[in-house]
Amino acid sequence: MSGALFLGWRYLAHHRFKSAILVASITLMLFLPVATRLLVEDSATALTARADRTPLILGARGSELELVLNTLYFHAETPAEIENRAFVEAQSTGLAEFIPIHSRFHAQGAPIVGTSLDYFDFRGLSVANGRQMGLLGECVIGARTAARLGLAPGESIVSSPETVFDIAGVYPLKMKIAGVLAPSGTADDDAVFVDVRTAWIIQGLGHGHADLAEPEAGAAVLSRRDDVITANASLTQFAEITAENISAFHFHGADETFPLTSIIVVPSDQKSAALLRGRYQDSEVLQLVVPGSVLDDLLETVFAVQNYVILGLTILSLAAAAVITLVFLLSQQLRQGEFHTLLRIGASRGYVSVLIASEIGFVVFISASLAAALTLVTRYYAMQILQTFLTL
């Protein structure tokens, strides 16, 4: 019967355009519903895995989803800010470890995340190249951002103004890269991490400039009255924090009023978690959310939509299968002469059946293999696509 397989293969190879259309149709019929299901499941797993590793998030009242997505994935939609006072007060409870998050600005397409060193321990992130950030104005960058921008320790990255017309004082800050993180396969790979005070400087809450008490600053000084010196706009602010000018950097105002976008809360135990949830339950400005629960609500909707999509795709696939079957039967009808010749030469009906089955088998096998390969490739890139979607 190997002769029948050969004839089947030769027929398909000779009518390669027709075969290719058939293979493409069946590949899509198999690929689309399966890939949709797997992608949603993979995405759900990835989303919930990071969420499940983050016990609680404290943030401003408002959209729970925005708060969670911004804290976990540094999503561009910035939630309402909270004051650093909330962080200080929470820490005083001693019920948990609290990690501040300031995720609002970007540097060359990468989110700038202002946080503390505790974040790296909490996420299990290690520096693969260089060292951990230690000074104001230093940063460590994620592996993907380093690869994408071709950056290494010792080089610099500049923060982007929020808008082109942002003349209110949020100047770009040139940050020195202290280290590059080892890849983690998470949103952390895309981020630029700075100390939260560096994030405040980017926001314009702190700055550095020439000492107005020195005679060189004379031209910029408008008035001197007791300890109060007033300068005009000609006073140049430093755009980079260096060893020479770091002492000139300072903040205006009380740091308890400075903003954070959220606080990651890692309770000591379940009782502490319950106490904390009770503490913020009735707060009018703050909310404490369980990221896993928030994403479960989102995923419920996604799964419901997915079921409708798969149902639609299945109906389309069945319709396509019916059309393909019809085309195939018509093709067999047109080939009756060829089959008759084979029978007249001496082939059995079984041989002709094997010939037809081999053609179907080849088409289905190639289609299934392509669909499997496409699914693997899609799954491979799915997380990157999801990541892009989440940080948009």
Partner: protein, 231 residues
């Protein structure tokens, strides 16, 4: 040799051909081994039907057909297939080559069906046959690239692949011009002579009859049982 004994065959059409009925009775006759015989007769006299009965592609209602001491009318469908592939080489009026195979692969078709012997041997035998009919330079081309005369030469080579003791040709020159007609008949005669094969060929062309040892007229060996046969 072919030995026919009081053969009866009837056919009733199906589907759109339901009104079509045909039947014929063939008296006993024999064709000696190695002889070349032309089968003549008017359209509808049952020439093609008789060839189909001898090849085993049609089944007789009664009577017997004996080919080289094998009574094929007793064979099952499977046995008939095996008998055909090993003992019968057939050439058809419309060549019936497979368009998606090269001419070498077309000649190898009986091997692709039977799988008897090695592939290498079958390929070499096919190439030898094609070289023998002047198609040495076209072994890898497809039938659509050949003239009709060349295609029929390929069909003759296909019939000869297994050196069959019986060669059946159903109006093989029907679609050919005068020059190619004689070339194909000469080729069949030569191949049959070389293998001592029995050649039975249906033809309407009286100019070819002189080349055969015997001429059988359907009007003399068969009687219609009503309706009309095809061919």
């Amino acid at each position: 040799m072919i030995d026919i004994g009081n053969l009866a065959f009837s056919y009733r059409g199906r589907g759109p051909d339901a009104s079509f009925k045909f039947g014929m009775r063939v008296e006993a006759f024999a064709v000696p081994q190695g002889a070349s015989t032309a089968l003549v007769g008017p359209s509808g006299s049952g020439k093609t039907t008789l060839l189909g009965l001898i090849a085993g592609t049609l089944r007789a209602d009664s009577g017997s057909i004996n080919v080289n001491d094998q009574t094929i009318t007793d064979f099952s469908d499977g046995e008939l297939g095996r008998f055909r592939i090993r003992n019968v080489g057939q050439v058809f009026q419309a060549f019936e080559l497979l368009s998606y195979l090269t001419i070498t692969e077309n000649v190898m078709l009986p091997w692709y069906i039977s799988g008897d012997g090695s592939r290498t041997h079958a390929r070499e035998r096919a190439a030898d046959l094609l070289r023998g009919v002047g198609l040495a330079s076209k072994l890898g081309v497809r039938p659509g690239e050949l003239s009709q005369g060349e295609q029929q030469r390929v069909a003759v080579c296909r019939a000869m692949l297994n050196d069959p003791p019986l060669l059946l040709a159903d109006e093989p020159t029907g679609n050919l011009d005068r020059e190619n007609k004689h070339m194909v008949v000469d080729l069949l005669m030569e191949q049959a002579r070389r293998n001592s094969s029995t050649l039975l060929m249906v033809t309407h062309d009286e100019s070819l009859l002189a080349e055969f040892d015997t001429v059988l007229d359907m009007r003399q060996i068969s009687q219609p049982l009503g309706g009309g046969a095809r061919g």
